[in-house]
């Protein structure tokens, strides 16, 4: 159950629905709501550079929510590309995958992300992704179900991206003598750019009927992210070519 109290009614009956849902023109289907929630969750896990370490509890709860949705969608068999005209949705999927791939690629190149560059590697252009994907990430056999349904490779990297988010939290130096320092290694340092508490105001979902909720203040709004896109294109080109 996604949100309680939502019923399928035609628009004529909207005045019967009280509270937050009043004025809501058309009730979206359950799967649309679920997809919207998934997108929102992925945006919340988005990798904007933060000065302060992200809240781990919040990140874990959001990640668990994403996993739940994924599981349900896998069982439904609905884990596939949605209608092609939904431009708002696809780029969000790429956001998570791209950052992981960019980061892992940069590490392989020996380039260490500097704090100042944080905002640059938030978004990635979709066109570059296929090249990076095939070159860097091994195909996960578990994703075969998804990849069968989705012609594009990046769609199948959700689970992988999530796993990668948490994978990099683990220590790289287990042989480190002092337990105290075993966690303070560069993988966690990199990871902070992956797992974040920053929230962008997602596109209005099925629950935008509620007044009085203040928008969350974010350091990077979606419009400024788009302007970074051009810059990142440039960076990506340079990195891919080297």
């Amino acid at each position: 159950m996604f949100a309680r109290g939502l019923k399928r009614k035609c628009a004529d009956h909207e005045e019967d629905m009280g509270g937050a849902l009043a004025g809501f023109r058309a009730v979206p289907s359950y799967s649309l709501q679920r997809q919207s929630l998934l997108d929102m969750s992925l945006v919340k896990l988005q990798l904007c550079h933060m000065l302060v370490e992200p809240n781990l509890c919040r990140s874990v709860l959001i990640a668990n929510t994403v996993r739940q949705i994924q599981e349900e969608m896998t069982q439904d068999g609905t884990w596939r590309v949605a209608a092609p005209q939904s431009t708002g949705r696809a780029p969000l999927d790429r956001l998570v995958s791209t950052e992981i791939l960019c980061r892992s690629m940069r590490e392989q190149d020996g380039v260490h992300p500097a704090p100042g560059m944080g905002d640059d590697h938030v978004l990635g252009p979709g066109s570059e992704l296929s090249t990076v994907t095939s070159a860097q990430t091994p195909r996960d056999p578990q994703n075969s179900v998804w990849e069968m349904d989705s012609p594009r490779e990046n769609r199948g990297n959700f689970q992988k991206s999530l796993d990668q988010i948490f994978e990099t939290l683990e220590t790289r130096n287990p042989s480190s003598a002092e337990e105290l320092f075993s966690d303070m290694d560069s993988s966690y340092y990199d990871l902070d750019t992956v797992l974040t508490g920053v929230v962008s105001r997602a596109e209005p979902g099925p629950c935008d009927g509620l007044q009085g909720l203040p928008p969350v203040a974010t350091p990077a709004s979606s419009s400024s992210c788009k302007s970074d896109l051009g810059e990142l294109d440039h960076v990506m080109e340079i990195l891919v070519e080297t």
């Binding site: 302060v52 809240n55 509890c57 948490f166 966690d183 979902g205 007044q211 009085g212 969350v216």
Partner: protein, 444 residues
């Protein structure tokens, strides 16, 4: 002069009056009375601690019970920069816990995300005068000019309250500290972060024992974190910790050095009719508190407060709805992150009433005996000094009565996360973002 009525002493009928309305410079992040209730400490986002002291009751003003005035202010934590991770460490004070008073000085623990500090707060009302080798301003005198000797004497001076850091407990937490708790042996305390709990001795700052570690070997498998922890008030070997999955574990330190296996496991079975994608998030426990008696624990999750009997693990003995009208708004509250707000909860001195905060500057009290509850508002507009607090009501649907407020008009930026209750009297401290309110029971 009007006839003074005697009020019946039922908590839900109790009249609360405002006796302090203070606006510190920064958002208050923790509030705590000391064991006698004489002092009230607040910590804020800027790393400062402000301590209020209750004034002595005077015989002249019988009707005015002692009110709280600022006693001491000091900077506990400063912002730091972790060069290894290129991250700032916030100076925000997450928790303050008092030590029981053992001499003239007061001791408290304050913590930010990474470092716990033990502060000594002491009074100075005398100073020595008449040094031989120093002059009045403290400058050294040339010994050759000294012709006579005198004995320095202590002379009274204006009361000065000074706070000094006595211990700094650092570098023991990789993740963010969410709780500290002083043990009933008064020799040790624990600090808990998202994945680990450490046990400290007050005298030793370069070592701590790790007593709980839930970090998985593979961080991909991380699905649960520690959200709060507390020692039993009387049994120094027992403590509890809560998780983001809505479970509470009680551990006995005598069982093993690493308490990864709990002695008791408290979890309520999920209600299948209420299941949604948000079920886990709203079941995450934001605060856990032992009753003063030590027989019960109280937990706060997003929509409810629950009381558990330590002898019954399979479900709570009492569940109180804090703001169930938010259940249908969970999606919006997830979108604006309010669903992750961590509300605290407190017991009154006799464990008969529990209190917790909500939105719109509302806070709620539940009487465990009569099962009555009340909603009150802590706001400047509605509270003049010594004004009696009026109960508030949220209208959930249908016709809204005159004094009611509809769910859609609630201000979700005004949240009361931190409250405190005097250990023996009906005095409560409520932190509403920037403002600290102290309400006292109206005396006839």
């Amino acid at each position: 002069m009007s006839v003074i009525k005697t009020y019946q002493r039922k908590p839900y009928q109790r009249k609360w009056i405002l006796t302090l309305d203070c606006e510190p410079a920064d958002i208050i992040s923790t509030v705590e009375f000391n064991h006698t209730g004489e002092l009230l400490a607040t910590g804020d986002k800027g790393g400062r601690v402000v301590i209020f002291q209750r004034e002595q009751e005077s015989k002249n003003q019988v009707h005015r019970r002692g009110e709280y005035n600022v006693y001491s202010t000091f900077q506990s934590h400063e912002p730091e920069f972790d060069y290894l991770k290129s991250l700032e460490i916030e100076e925000k004070i997450n928790k303050i816990r008092w030590l029981p008073q053992q001499n003239a000085a007061y001791f408290l623990l304050s913590t930010n995300d990474k470092t716990v500090k033990l502060w000594k707060v002491s009074e100075r009302d005398k100073r020595p005068e008449g040094y031989n080798l120093k002059d009045e301003e403290g400058r050294l005198r040339d010994p050759a000019t000294i012709t006579t000797l005198r004995v320095p004497v202590l002379r009274p001076m204006d009361l000065m309250v000074e706070a000094t850091p006595r211990r700094v407990f650092a570098n023991a937490h990789t993740y963010h500290i969410n709780s500290i708790s002083v043990n009933s042996d008064y020799e040790t305390y624990m600090s808990a972060d998202d994945l680990r709990i450490n046990l400290w001795n007050f005298e030793i700052t370069n070592q701590s024992f790790n007593i709980v570690d839930i970090k998985p070997a593979n961080m991909e498998e991380l699905t649960e974190v520690i959200t709060a922890a507390e020692f039993h008030p009387h049994h120094c070997n027992t403590f509890v910790y809560s998780s983001s999955k809505g479970t509470i574990r009680l551990c006995d330190m005598r069982a093993s050095a690493l308490c990864d296996r709990h002695t008791k496991f408290f979890e309520e079975p999920e209600d299948p009719s209420n299941r949604s994608f948000f079920s886990e998030i709203i079941s995450s426990i934001s605060d856990v508190k032992f009753s003063h008696s030590g027989r019960y624990i109280m937990t706060r999750d997003y929509l409810t407060v629950k009381v558990w009997d330590l002898n019954m693990e399979n479900r709570p003995i009492e569940t109180y709805q804090v703001h169930d009208y938010l259940r249908s708004k969970l999606c919006s509250l997830y979108e604006n992150d309010c669903i992750f707000d961590k509300f605290e909860c407190v017991w009154n001195g006799s464990d008969s009433v529990i209190m917790t905060g909500s939105y719109n500057n509302f806070f709620r009290m539940f009487d465990r005996n009569t099962k009555r509850d009340v909603t009150l508002e802590a706001s400047r507009e509605n509270s003049k000094p010594r004004a009696i607090l009026k109960p508030r009501k949220v209208c959930v649907g249908g016709k809204r009565r005159k004094d009611e407020i509809s769910v859609d008009s609630l201000d979700f930026s005004k949240k009361i996360l931190h409250t405190a209750w005097h250990p023996s009297e009906n005095i409560i401290a409520v932190a509403a973002t920037n403002n600290l309110y102290i309400f006292q029971d109206k005396v006839n």
